[in-house]
Symmetry: C2
């Protein structure tokens, strides 16, 4: 494909090209891109706002992340934050910092991934900012959503005896990243190198093209279940559980043998000689939903496909721990989150 | 002041420190920082959203921009976009990409500027994202505001015979930047160098610590004036006028001798042997309000301090031009915007 230097279009030309014929999905989108601010109309609900920033070589490595996938993921991780409040994502703004080595076609590929995600999840792109970067690619997406009044689910509502639930499976995105990194190292200096992902497609896809669990939010609503607390699993199960427990002033017990893990994740961990439970607890980027429900909801939860009960909430003084496979020994949960500033140089 | 490496706090520690005891100014701020998304409540109005991204060495140079000023400016330029829609800024989210050479105290200084701006303009900080950057400092602020239903002023409403108005004066921020750049060059390799800004305080302040024109929006409302089109002057008068004319499908005439220019701006242009009108037309970062009103509003506009009529809207086929001081010769207005990708290397 022919490549166009961004300087031939300039800022406004690039924005025109990226935002050409953007669809509007929502009546709440009154004014979209092309003015100082977007205008949204939310008469009977509460507005939700969330922001995520992605930086090249911190959050993504373009040697193995296709730009379209990157755009898709950048949008979806924001939708996931809105679903995690029990809301519906409606609009996003897109901030792009673009360095000179990117062409118009590169940025269009990135944007096409953002647009695809918006189409699939029914979200409008309503604005943004595009600027030159000396520093690689920078993507900041802010998502606006809504939730019926009083229905937002926070991190702070978990109560002792509540059941802890998680959707899907954990650790796959992290093991996918390990695989991609391994293949990157193996390919260095070998232009003919073809990575072999046979039998590992799932973990690669979980890393490169995650989905937000709209289906779970819809299933919960249909089943008449309102979680007492909820988060999406972006930094890892351990970290998110500690957030919920801290904000709810409770403790928790999670059973090691109930943590949902895919077969490919387990195989990859074995192949790389990594601890599987550590990967599932601390891996991050799963974008599954972690939530608590009253004990009385046990039967209804059982009706929802892909949701698993993994433990229960305790009084605060019991602390937060993983119950090992023997059913007795307990390992305290530790906060991870990122701390890359500790290891990396500018 | 003692400096703390960010790695000693980690992500969550840093966020806790930055967002400690954030005030809440608005009843519409239901849930602020500390959950997946903020929750806002806007029952009887339309919601406005705008985003700005600032990158080190593209939008700011830390050799002469104090971090607190930078934070203040990063917030204020977003407020300006909301005012330019005739709205009121209510909440912001703050995305920060931080490289290893910044300490906790640096980021606190930056954040203190953001908090000061929020205090002065009555805006709540409701969320954000903080991450490591290999690439210098990255700041993305998204501002949410509101406007009574149907009262948002867009770029597209200007009609032939409308009067073109602008607040304050133009070109000062640009000349302030030229001065700061000159002093930076002069100070290179001279640790004892003291820049002399005597008699030039205004243009330096316009560059380093701009204000958003809330006062003008309030004065217009008080006078019963609803502009037909409005923008804030961030890329330069010329560029913004062309935006309004394009979106409104009209032309315009602006009188060179009516463009408001401060005495310090003129002196600095003379000292640097630069064209003053070019600076005022294309300088950018003025954050003044450019708006159009029906001809019948002429007398009322005259009552508003600091607002000047600089020209009028024409039919589209007349094009967009500056009328020179002789009152006859016309110079077509040209779009500038940024195009730094044309000149800069990564």
């Amino acid at each position: 494909m022919s490549q166009t230097e961004i300087s031939t279009l300039g800022e406004f030309g690039l924005i025109d090209r990226l935002t050409d014929s953007l669809p509007v999905h929502h009546a709440s989108t009154v004014v979209s891109v092309g003015d100082d601010a977007a205008v949204l109309n939310y008469p009977d609900s509460e507005v939700l706002v969330t922001t995520d920033m992605l930086l090249e070589n911190v959050h993504f490595d373009l040697t193995y992340v296709p730009l379209k996938h990157l755009g898709y993921k950048a949008a979806v991780v924001n939708f996931s934050d809105i679903y995690a409040m029990n809301g519906t994502p409606r609009q996003i703004t897109v901030g792009l910092g673009i360095s000179k080595r990117f062409t118009v076609e590169h940025i269009e590929a990135l944007y096409s991934g953002i647009r695809l995600a918006c189409e699939i999840y029914g979200v409008d792109i309503v604005g943004g900012d595009t600027c030159a970067s000396h520093q690689g690619l920078v993507i900041t997406i802010t998502c606006i959503g809504d939730v019926p009044k009083g229905k937002a689910v926070r991190r702070s509502g978990a109560k002792p005896t509540d059941i802890i639930c998680v959707s899907g499976d954990l650790g796959a995105a992290y093991m996918g990243l390990q695989l991609l990194e391994r293949e990157k190292v193996a390919s260095a200096g070998r232009p003919d190198f073809q990575p072999d992902f046979a039998g590992k497609e799932y973990i690669v896809e979980r890393q490169l093209k995650p989905e937000a669990r709209r289906d779970v939010i819809e299933a919960l609503a249909k089943a008449g279940i309102v979680p007492t607390a909820m988060m999406d699993v972006s930094d890892g199960l351990s970290s998110e559980l500690l957030h919920i427990c801290k904000d709810s002033k409770v403790g928790c017990r999670v059973y090691e043998d109930r943590i949902p893990i895919d077969y490919q994740t387990a195989l990859m961990a074995e192949e790389l000689n990594m601890n599987l439970v550590t990967a599932a607890l601390n891996g991050g980027e799963d974008y599954e939903l972690l939530f608590t429900v009253p004990l009385s909801m046990h039967d209804r939860i059982g009706q929802i496909p892909g949701v698993k009960e993994i433990g229960y909430i305790t009084d605060e003084d019991k602390g937060c721990a993983l119950v090992a496979r023997d059913g007795e020994s307990e390992i305290p949960l530790k906060a991870q989150g990122w701390n890359p500033l500790a290891q990396e140089n500018e």
